[in-house]
Subunit: 349 residues, 4 copies
């Protein structure tokens, strides 16, 4: 960490400066000081992760503070250079380091017939995991809130029928017991910084699908992963699902550059959600292909047998036959990406 | 609600169109249809709050959907034209309709001495409520997370000493029993769409301070208030605390226009947080004055007796004597705002 | 266009309502009125492109206005269903409808040796056009501003040597005479809404590369194209180059969804600039592959023989051998995209 | 400037490191090097304004670069601690250091009767300058583009009648001769980074009203001022007019914090445009009061005698009597701000 201090001169300033240096050293850190005419720079060496830049800025002689190293450790590729591979359902499905997650299913579980029907058709089309919402975060209290515990039960039926591992969202710690047989617990975008929930999930050993918040930076996404990992659970799959910008042609703006950025900074796999980010069924295919091309470790796609009568998010749902086309096309694209990687010195992911 | 449909012609399209109309009417709503050459418009009349525009967009003949009325009811000024006044601590402090909340205190409670000292000095300077964090949402798991239950205890000591009602943040439902003697429960920006928490708070009768999320629109803020109100708790104070934009000179961008917008759309009071929005102590005074001038119903300001050694957010904390200057200045500005309102046909708030 | 009016009742309101209707009809448009209990809706039929929604909103009985059709005509796919193909240098290079632009070269022209050297190497690697800046828009007046007229001369030398058509940026109308032998005139992001410049370019018949502004929506990009097209010049290639958001891991946020959105709304080709959007050389390859995969009509990539000593934007420049790897990889990806399209009912672009 | 370099070891790295140091020193700058275990830091001392951080980032051993001093000189308060006062029309009106600009008038000049009528009424209400657009930047080529030269003539008529100095927008250098008798030349938000225009205006001695671009940071606004000032023209008034964010309740998001930030970084005055930023007449008054309260040096407000029939931006225009109310209220608020400043150690502006 580098601390930029206004030029120090005069007894009062010298006292404040030495106060600051002592305070830093009292945290068990070392300082290197280089004095210039207009500014003095303090280099701080040691485990600076616990230092809060905001706190240092409140010393009135400090002009600015800059972190030199990332504020995360467990999620950091520097300390874990090899790609993590997340094993799901006892290794039945793997994600990361060339293992691709193809997760599909409806926004909400509605009926047994619906979820089993969709599960069968996405499996036939090439999905290797089933998604479906039992607890639904909705902007309006008057919108359908999901079937809750009953929805989880129906998802488990669909798992039994098809063998597909399940991905479903948790909205509060108190529901954790219901997720015993769920294979991957999803933390939605709105809960990415629900730190109490993250801490609790850090005490489980379930794979976690952690979605990026609408206003969160990639660093903050990795810090939220760090909350879970520092609790002991390293089974994390990150998910880019669009950020909020001024553009209204798509519901959110899919930030695909997050894929190579995460691959550089972290060893964790990252998948892409083209359904929630674009909000429109017709853009799901091109963005799925783009995600596969830039090295994403998987996709999570909404599929419904009857989108107009879906109880939520119908506008972005593919019909099963459309999903089959996307899945087939993504295969072609991934083969091309492998050919590209084979010829490259440094493979993409 | 207005539904814009691509021009209908041909048997297939007519069938889809009549499907759509039947489906809407099956929800107990009425339709008015006006057919044009290129587009047909369906006006939907009735309680459209439960209709989800996204679901309607998934009918493939639909081009667009537009809400005509706001999607909130309890928080809506149309159905409740008079300003709400929120009563705190049995009416000791009121907020709204000309009653101004001046909430001050440290980011985090640290020690008994610290919180009682600050409480006394902010009271002397004109604060009518005390803030202080016991549970702290922090981006990093390695940062100080607050004193928790012990912090609440220290806050209650400070309340006993000074008589100031307390405002403090809840981070999870499970902590609710600890908030029994807390006067105002704060829902932080990161939890604005933690719907399970909102529903639970709707079942209490505590005043709630609901902060706007970093990426949330004003309508979404009101929808989150609606979650609490539709559960039966109408004691809500909204808070503008800055949104995320590309500008980095301030930590967030304080959206002061939210004050007149909320006053137009809703009867609920709205206060402003100049500390978290700007992130810098020296900008707190000008933005406090601006907030008072445009009709805000209060301010929530961070004050610390020793900002450089504060355990969080020191950079944005005022010293007690600086807060006293702000409080005095805000008084002058509020008197001017009252003079302006006295001479106006339509007062600001 | 649909105008939503507050319910009309009372003589005063009826008068205002009939004022509004007469005013609309006086513009040569027709109205369809449907009266409801709470709102009245006016459907406006005819050429509504000249109507300004803001003007209509200023009638105080109007609650809201919604366009039903896009506000652009010449650029609109509805009136021109087939993809446009832009012919450059007398048809030597084509862009659009399966014809891919691979534009490469340095941020700035520096010396004859530099530009000719780079031109040769990018040609060998598969580029079909040469880019290079002679006039450089720089945030600081103290930064290198480009060689100006001399730079154009050096670019023409490089064209003579290699036969590659030239793409270079114009910054003011007065320089137009210098662009006589330039093949494609680039309008940079900062000039996307320099309407005087757009009008003037509409009077030429040069192909124009129009870059999206940092804060501009896709609709605004198409409106700027419309400025040029309505002047008579239909040779426009659009370019997505990143928008401004809160994320700082990349310089801007590349909005790749703009590719399928533009392809849906317009017949004009759209290319992608992975260099300026990400701002970092190592992210250029993955984002180039993603662009090719989702149907972009080309790429514009910065290449420098000695990035650390480039006079601008070195951080995002590829070395020639890195560009060769990208070009080869993009070929593989485009072949895969063609295979995908061959099997699809509706091809991507 | 501080350059953060990955730890240097090995002959190859040492060579690259010494290359970098030599290159910096060859620009006439001095370096201070401090080597750590994981990173090495180069402090660069001297006139670093010409150094481009992006260029330094392209050295592959460089991890990051941080400016320690602002990249502007002429606009910098550090080198010019006293507030600038801009004199208009030979000192008839002054702006800055307690002198308040109250600029009012229509979006567009339409007829002689209209502009003279509005000019008289805004003068009577307390305006000290007249605004009015002759050249109008419009998103659509089909919208009214302003009266051009004829509009300037009508504005000069209104100036003759009322004595109010004129503020009007320039859209291209070629129109400069028409602005001879215009008192303040406005550079609109879309032209804030039209650097050719800025350079040319730097060669005049006219007061310039420079509006912040929709996607531009405060630092970039000051850099654009620097373009004009480094050309020799120091008569610049800055203007905050809203930035683009995801919020749609107002047309743009007025960033009022820009007022104290600019006052800290620069000696130039800054005024606020509540009309374009909010886009809605009813929000103009509260935001005008807020601007006056936080120390803005003036306001620019749209006023039209007949908003519904204004040829542009009617929705945000005040009627003359509404403007009179705003002007009176702003006076009250400014008196309160002066009372606040009188009692403060450090006045706001």
């Amino acid at each position: 960490m580098i601390i930029i201090v206004n030029a120090v001169s005069g007894a009062e300033k010298e006292r404040k400066f030495s106060d600051l240096v002592h305070w830093i050293e009292s945290q068990g850190l070392k300082t290197h000081i280089s004095r210039g005419d207009f500014t003095t720079i303090i280099g701080v060496v040691g485990d600076t992760m616990k230092l809060d830049p905001d706190q240092i800025r409140s010393f009135d002689i400090v002009r600015d503070v800059k972190r030199v190293s990332e504020p995360f450790k467990e999620a950091n590729r520097k300390f874990h250079p090899k790609d993590s591979v997340i094993e799901i359902a006892g290794g039945k499905v793997k994600v990361g380091h060339g293992n691709f997650a193809m997760i599909a299913g409806p926004c909400s579980v509605e009926t047994e017939e619906q979820i089993i029907g969709i599960a069968k058709s996405v499996k036939a089309a090439g999905a290797n995991m089933l998604r479906g919402g039992a607890f639904k975060p909705r902007t309006s209290p008057y919108s359908f809130q999901g079937l809750g515990a009953e929805g989880i039960k129906l998802l488990l039926e669909a798992k039994k029928e098809t063998g597909l591992p399940l991905v479903t969202e948790i909205m509060d710690i108190k529901y954790l017991p219901l997720f015993e047989e769920v294979d991957v617990i999803q933390v939605g975008a709105r809960n990415m910084q629900n730190f109490e929930l993250l801490k609790e999930l850090g005490r489980t050993n379930k794979p976690i699908l952690l979605k990026r918040g609408l206003a969160n930076t990639i660093t903050e996404l990795l810090m939220s992963a760090e909350y879970i990992m520092s609790g002991g659970n390293e089974n994390i799959i990150l998910c880019e699902r669009g950020i909020r910008t001024f553009e209204t042609a798509t519901r959110n703006t899919l930030d695909l550059s997050a894929v190579p950025v995460v691959h550089e900074l972290s060893h964790l796999p990252i998948i892409v959600d083209p359904s929630h980010s674009t909000g429109t069924a017709k853009y799901v295919k091109p963005m799925s292909l783009a995600a596969a091309a830039c090295g994403a470790d998987g996709l999570i796609i909404e599929v419904h047998n009857d989108p107009p009568h879906a109880l939520c998010d119908g506008a972005q749902s593919l019909r099963p036959e459309e999903f089959a086309d996307v899945a087939r096309s993504v295969q072609i694209m991934r083969a091309a990406a492998q050919e590209v990687n084979a010829g490259a010195e440094t493979p993409l992911a």
